[in-house]
């Protein structure tokens, strides 16, 4: 796990974290995610290294396609960190507007200043980017396995260069996006989060389309795990700006400032 070299958590701890998160995110329990995480000693992990903890949670959420609601509560923590106000879940509305949900499920729309709203949006972009990277990794790994088993013309289809090259390109993009989400978690800069979300969105979409082509017809069936990843990708990509919109937003800002930020230093 090369992306984890910039963390205060040691590698064994991260492995453990990954496997327990995988467990929590895929169990059938109907208890709220927050309670299930609490059983893990989640708070301690988050306090030690919030960037790695949250990134890992969302990556695994993407990988396992878990439907657990992690975004709302994570935004709520961020909101509380920024303003001191507490809520169970937060969702982001049009600029300047948030919806707060309290413990009983009651919703309350509030308006916030531009900076708070932008910080929350950036946080959301980062978390969703992490989930998209998790999806990208998963669909490539599964497609690789499929191409080893599926035989046509007397050989596993994975030997065909046309498929090898598709998955290799997608893999390189996933690695690149992986660095961006790691950095965005560390520098906490909204700009990095935006770039990470942009890269993650296009990466996950690209990875899905490459994987689907490798599957052939079976990739279009309801029972196969793949289509759900594709649908989730389209949905996540549209949250807080799809990748094409973000590319435009990024380019537009670069033109306006005529500055080209160097993300990450030696």
């Amino acid at each position: 796990m090369r992306n984890d070299t910039r963390t205060t958590l040691d590698p064994d701890m991260i492995d453990m974290l990954r496997s327990s998160l995988r467990h929590v995110l895929t169990d059938e329990s109907t208890r709220p995610l927050a309670d299930r995480l609490a059983d893990l000693g989640w708070k301690e992990v988050v306090d030690t290294d919030p960037a790695t903890a949250l990134r890992t949670l969302f990556e695994i959420k993407g990988d396992t396609l878990s439907g657990a609601d992690a975004l709302g509560p994570s935004l709520a923590s961020k909101y509380s960190e920024l303003t001191g106000a507490s809520s169970a879940s937060v969702s982001i509305g049009r600029p300047g507007h948030l919806t707060l949900v309290d413990g009983s499920g009651a919703e309350n729309e509030v308006s916030v200043d531009e900076a708070t709203w932008a910080a929350l949006q950036a946080h959301g972009r980062w978390l969703v980017a992490c989930e998209l990277v998790g999806i990208g990794r998963h669909v490539i790994a599964s497609a690789v396995e499929y191409t080893k088993d599926r035989v046509q013309y007397g050989k596993p289809i994975g030997v065909f260069q046309a498929l090898q090259h598709r998955l290799a390109s997608a893999h390189a993009m996933v690695v690149g996006a992986g660095h961006l989400i790691t950095e965005a978690g560390l520098d906490g800069d909204p700009w990095t989060a935006t770039v990470a979300k942009c890269m993650a969105g296009q990466t996950a979409e690209f990875a899905c389309t490459q994987a689907q082509q490798c599957y052939g017809a079976i990739g279009f069936t309801f029972e196969h795990e793949f289509p759900a990843y594709l649908r989730r990708t389209y949905t996540l990509d549209r949250m807080f700006g799809d990748w094409r919109t973000l590319e435009h937003e990024i380019g537009s800002r670069l033109q306006a400032t005529r500055l080209v930020p160097r993300i990450g230093s030696l």
Binding site: T5, Q161, A168, G176, G251, V260, L266
Partner: protein
């Protein structure tokens, strides 16, 4: 002579800041800012002075071992130097790019040669080329045919090399030749002087009109025994070791260029919203390349050995390089191709089109990633 040493700086970032101060305040250095090369030969001549200056002041010696004339410290110092030079609009002297690829290999496989020759190379008194490819051995490098034949205490070379970057401007070349039978095992890496009778170097004009590379005809060029890099028959392993620098560290060097060129392009052309998406696309890919190759540089600094995953660096490089120069060309309108003031930039643009070829083609990298990293089956 300078008083710099590796422990002068706590971090590469401190070093970079000090170097930036030096470059901004030293009048000799200032004469090189914003240099636009009218031709590759002119650049080679002109920038030699700059190369000597930053060597004499110690800046370029950081990141190389003291035993070989460096000032100690790990490769991150070199990475920081490249970053600083790009950011402040200094053209990186071409010999540095070859150095970054060839010298790490010497440090491991022929330390005696590094000790003897690194200072001259770093200072720009000596320049080297890399001669691997042959007319019939490109991607399939292991099929190369140039022969290394014993002669007394040393060896003689017979055959032909091609595409050797800056071969005609180089005094020596690292060269891969066949000393034994067919296949990987029969290969040996040597360092050969090009300024001798048995070596005939002829420049090849590239598509931008510049002599980017050369053919080298070898008819008995002499190689003393101590100029063998590694062991006889170890040439393939040496070449593979080189790849982590050629594909990995090189990516870091290039991302500095891409960020700078994007910045300059924005300054040189008016805002055009229609270009925003392609600018954003290029920037995003350059940022991904930057972070990934930073990781690679750090791993190299920790002396980890990198395997087939360096092909990922090359794939990210190709994407970023292609996208960056596409957007530069689009944003500058026709000026890139037609404005003589942009000849230097156009030349860089044309070179960038070779990204999917040089250092192992796009197709080869994808195959390596698929088979060696992802574990897809081989036919």
């Amino acid at each position: 002579m300078s008083a710099l040493a590796a422990d002068t700086f706590a971090t590469p970032a401190d070093y970079a800041a000090a170097l930036a101060d030096f470059l901004a305040s030293d009048p000799r250095a200032q004469t090189y800012v914003g240099y636009r090369a009218p031709s590759l030969e002119h650049a080679a001549e002109h920038l030699r002075g700059f190369q000597a200056l930053i060597f004499d002041e110690g800046w370029s010696r950081l990141g190389w071992p003291e035993s070989a004339g460096g000032l100690g410290g790990d490769p991150r110092f070199r990475a920081a130097m490249f970053q600083t030079l790009w950011d402040l609009d200094f053209q990186i002297p071409e010999p540095f790019t070859t150095l970054e690829i060839l010298v790490p290999v010497l440090l491991v496989f022929a330390p005696h040669l590094a000790d003897e020759l690194l200072p001259g190379l770093l200072r720009g008194d000596d320049t080297w080329a890399q001669a691997f490819s042959e007319p019939d051995a490109g991607s399939d490098l292991a099929s190369l045919r140039t022969r290394l034949e014993p002669d007394g205490d040393g060896f003689r070379l017979y055959g032909q090399k091609v595409w050797s970057t800056f071969g005609h401007l180089s005094r020596r070349s690292v060269l891969l030749a066949r000393s034994g039978g067919p296949g990987h095992k029969g290969l040996t890496m040597v360092l050969v002087d090009l300024d001798q009778d048995g070596a005939d170097v002829r420049p090849i004009r590239a598509q931008d009109g510049e002599n980017h590379f050369s053919e080298i005809f070898l008819d008995g060029a002499y190689v003393p025994r101590e100029r063998v890099i590694g062991e006889l028959g170890q040439g393939w392993a040496v070449a593979m070791y080189m790849l982590q620098w050629e594909r990995g560290a090189w990516g870091w060097l290039q991302q500095g260029r891409f960020h700078k060129r994007l910045e300059q392009m924005l300054a040189w052309a008016p805002t055009d919203e229609r270009h925003s998406a392609s600018i954003g696309h290029a920037y995003t890919l350059a940022a991904a390349l930057r972070l990934h190759t930073r990781d690679t540089v750090e791993r190299l600094a920790r002396e980890e050995s990198l395997g087939p995953e360096v092909s990922i660096d090359k794939l990210l490089l190709i994407d970023a390089e292609t996208a960056t120069w596409n957007t530069v060309r689009e944003h500058l309108g026709g000026r890139l191709e037609t404005d003589p003031d942009f000849h230097w930039l156009f030349s860089e643009y044309m070179f960038s089109r070779a990204a999917p070829i040089y250092g192992g083609s796009l197709e080869i990298q994808r195959t390596l990633v698929a088979q060696r990293v992802l574990g897809m089956p081989r036919d």
